[in-house]
Symmetry: C2
């Protein structure tokens, strides 16, 4: 094809990104060869290298997309008003995250959660990508801290804990759930929701004095 429509070019680029994403989710970035990718997307080297300057750029593009999707999932969930309690806040975050790129699968399982872990390891060796991750993390952390402050202001939560610490704890729970999802297969989101709900039911008797006027 020559002098092809912009839509075709975009579709090709996406085709390559999707095929590469599947390969990377299956085997990781560096155990996946370019030949693997070429076979998966059913294109020749010449075709792929027209759209991406090399493997590095392909990886960077995918990492960027994945980080963006996760960040959006966290930020969108936090946009709800009024902010739902933690156990319910976690549902839309994971819902959106697990639904991301649902069309891409690795032996019948969604590829995206696997991709997330792979992306984490890649940020460990690529400072540029690490900076991107840090930026998104900082943003999410700040937004979620606001929600925690709301909990405290409403007397729903003891006020003597730094909101940031609670935010990081909640983010950790979501991350860990995502890991379990990747490593052990699909888990209903309700597992985490109910788990948090149960934790929330534990009256803390050691320093019980906080705003909630007990009925």
């Amino acid at each position: 094809m020559a002098r092809v429509s912009q839509e075709h070019l975009d579709a090709r680029r996406r085709q390559i990104l999707d095929g590469a994403a599947v390969c990377f989710a299956r085997n990781g970035f560096h155990a996946t060869s370019m030949q693997d990718v070429l076979k998966e997307v059913d294109l020749s080297a010449g075709a792929v290298y027209r759209y991406f300057s090399g493997k590095e750029e392909l990886i960077a593009a995918i990492v960027g997309e994945v980080l963006g999707s996760v960040r959006e999932a966290f930020e969108d969930a936090a946009r709800q008003s009024p902010p739902p309690p933690p156990d319910e806040l976690v549902v839309p975050v994971l819902g959106r995250t697990l639904a991301a790129r649902e069309n891409l699968t690795v032996d019948g399982r969604p590829a995206f959660p696997r991709l997330v872990i792979q992306v984490w390891t890649e940020t460990l060796r690529n400072e540029e990508l690490a900076a991107l991750l840090r930026e998104g993390y900082a943003s999410v952390r700040a937004i979620w801290s606001r929600i925690v402050e709301a909990y405290q202001d409403a007397g729903m939560m003891r006020p003597d804990v730094a909101p940031d610490h609670v935010a990081r704890t909640m983010i950790a729970a979501v991350m860990g759930f995502l890991v379990q999802h990747s490593l052990f297969g699909p888990i209903p989101v309700e597992v985490l929701r109910d788990g948090l709900r149960a934790l929330m039911s534990m009256s803390d008797e050691r320093t019980a004095s906080h705003g909630s006027q007990l009925g």
Copy 2:
């Protein structure tokens, strides 16, 4: 050296494992070349291949050790009697995990948490290692479920949530904390402890009827 003492053989094996672990924590298993490992441990190929049949076996050995250490950390913490509440249970788990292989560092930072993430990705592509991970996870999950049952039996936690769900949630929190530690640098364990403590202080008003007789 010829006809060398058993201790020397053991020390060599450990030297190789430690050097390789640092390399793998830095760059991942498959972006690390054998030459990288050889340079790190300051040995020749002939020496290393006397102790390990190849890269694959080296990876498997390290993955096994890492999974074992993490599993021990989780199980040991659960052995405390009486079982501490979640926020305090989490402290020894992370303490032991973060202290594992503390002598190994990647540019000044502990290598072990990074290694954990790398291990996860490796289990995604190696069914044998995946089985090992599943086994350890199942064991930890069962043991932690017991602790949750104790919470419920003592009236500290609402009894209408499956203990396994709570166990998985707590494990998720620890895993996620570990991820944050790897990706963003050292975090005091108190962050997670206080975060959980705050969550535990949230009286769940929707279905408040559970055993704890509010004083």
